[in-house]
């Protein structure tokens, strides 16, 4: 493979303690990045620095440390807004993750604006995080859940969406990148069509945020959600972007401290967004860690990351297709670096265990997308890339897959 990209994965790995030798841990080829990414020193140090030297609650303190903590927390919000090209920081709500962000929209917006007989469109490839909130909402409100089926090669066909959209459609919920198929969905066109029909559009960006440029104004989505931990940041922090008009119109999700303006026995006045949606003490250190993670990503450059991962993806696709009996799911060749596959009749769990003993870490199972798993015929093994992977990691995966074939009698030893 010719190295045309301006990126050295070996140098990137030096910024991650996970990839340094450790007396109690084997070194592994980490290919489970769609589940969670490793954390660079910069993120760990930002979190640790906050807890060690700046810990205080936000928006409450009558003291300097509280003011400093609030500044750091709000600086993280501003950084997220800039990262997503959101018009203003007030459109960024911090949550625990993608799941909570989407649940927030389904509860707050959904239970206010979705009526009996209305329709919500979800795609067949959704992760449960962008599926179950809508299934439950439809059940609660007597609304109709419509499923946008995928093509046999794992894509969404826009003409199918046109057939599903009606005057009763309130929302289209779609993932930017499938966590199983690696499909990159045309979210700009999807939002356009949803809006033309009078519906809103929510984009689940959990699998795209760390891997490609993301611009909420260019996409023109009404809602977008992602998790910090899949973008080199901490767990326990996620983001909901929502257009200001919706945040103004939506009632609070949780109620409690920090989200209220006036509390009298006879009268409640909620705080302005985003505070209205952040009841209780937020994940302050985690937000500050997310700030450092976004700095880390932009320090490399999202165009550079996208180009590098694209070339590595093409290499991986070529090598995977050389393995006899391997069946690869999802579109070819344009896709993100997520590869679900099966190997003959060998169960994916067995593949993952054998790979693990060869120091190659992947995931197996249904990947929290049971309806999609049903469509694909059951469990799959899944390898997924990040910025610190390189062609040697793909080679290690392929070698280990050959060992799986030998062990289960698909090849002569």
């Amino acid at each position: 493979m010719t190295a045309t990209y301006r990126l050295n994965a070996g140098e990137i790995r030096k910024q991650f303690p996970f990839f340094q030798p450790h007396p109690e841990m084997r070194s592994v080829v980490y290919l489970d990045n769609a589940a969670t990414t490793q954390k660079p020193y910069a993120v760990i140090e930002a979190v640790s620095n906050f807890w060690a030297h700046h810990n205080a609650n936000v928006h409450r303190g009558g003291h300097g440390a509280g003011a400093r903590a609030s500044e750091m927390y709000e600086a993280a919000r501003t950084r997220v807004a800039q990262f997503l090209n959101a018009p203003e920081p007030a459109e960024i709500v911090f949550t625990r993750g993608t799941t909570e962000a989407i649940n927030l929209v389904a509860s707050s917006w959904g239970e206010t604006f979705v009526q009996t007989g209305d329709e919500i469109i979800v795609t067949e490839m959704e992760h449960h995080a962008n599926l179950l909130p809508w299934m439950r909402l439809a059940e609660k409100r007597g609304a109709r859940l419509k499923v946008w089926r995928i093509t046999d090669d794992g894509r969404l066909n826009l003409a199918d969406l046109d057939r599903l959209l009606t005057k009763r459609t309130r929302l289209v919920a779609v993932s930017h990148v499938s966590n199983v198929l690696g499909t990159v969905n045309p979210v700009v066109e999807i939002c356009q069509r949803a809006h033309a029909a009078g519906a809103l559009c929510l984009v689940d960006a959990a699998q795209s945020v760390a891997h490609m440029p993301l611009d909420v104004q260019a996409i023109d989505c009404d809602f977008l959600a992602f998790s910090g931990h899949k973008a080199y940041g901490p767990t326990g922090i996620g983001v909901l972007y929502a257009k200001r008009a919706w945040l103004e119109a939506m009632p609070p999700y949780h109620v409690g401290g920090g989200m209220v303006q006036t509390v009298r026995w006879e009268r409640l006045v909620w705080a302005e967004p985003p505070a209205k949606f952040e009841a209780g003490t937020p994940p302050i250190g985690e937000a500050i860690g997310l700030h450092a993670a976004l700095d880390f990503i932009d320090g490399i450059g999202r165009d550079t990351i996208e180009q590098y991962e694209h070339e590595l993806t093409q290499y991986a696709l070529r090598r995977l297709q050389e393995v006899p009996d391997l069946r690869l799911y999802g579109p070819l060749p344009d896709r993100a670096g997520i590869f679900a596959f099966t190997l003959g009749e060998i169960h994916p769990h067995d593949i993952a265990t054998v790979l693990d003993t060869h120091e190659v870490a992947i995931r197996s199972g249904l990947h929290c997308a049971h309806p999609l798993g049903e469509r694909l015929g059951g469990a799959t093994a899944r390898a997924s890339l990040a910025i610190y992977n390189d062609t040697h990691h793909i080679d290690a995966l392929i070698d280990a897959l050959h060992a799986v074939r030998r062990l289960f009698g698909l090849a002569r030893t």
Partner: protein, 142 residues
Amino acid sequence: MTTLNELYQEIILDHYRHPRGRGELEPPKITQEGFNPSCGDEIILDLRVQDGRVQEIRFRGRGCSISQASASMLTEAVQGKTVEQARALIQQVLALVKGETEGDIEALGDIAALAGVRYFPVRVKCATLAWHALDEALKHAE
């Protein structure tokens, strides 16, 4: 690689490739499903219990080699046993795959091959799926 060979012993691969006790029973029977939502492994046990004894037992399902081999071994081991004996065996198997067994395991026959699972904590659920289903099924046996 030794531990891998302990997990995938020839006895286990043989039960996986040539499952014993695969199938369904005609009613009357107790049917119990076991399902692992994270990986989709599924076992459906059919059993007929008469006079406090497992007269007949079959399994269906899909899943990894460990879950399916374990179910196959279960049907062989439990057929003809009393409910009491079956319950005792369940406890022995659960202890075995978690590495909590002391002393001789040879008396367990083929099931002893499941001992290799103890080196793979993420696979314990695979090995125990059928046995947990059996435990549930036996609650309906009285």
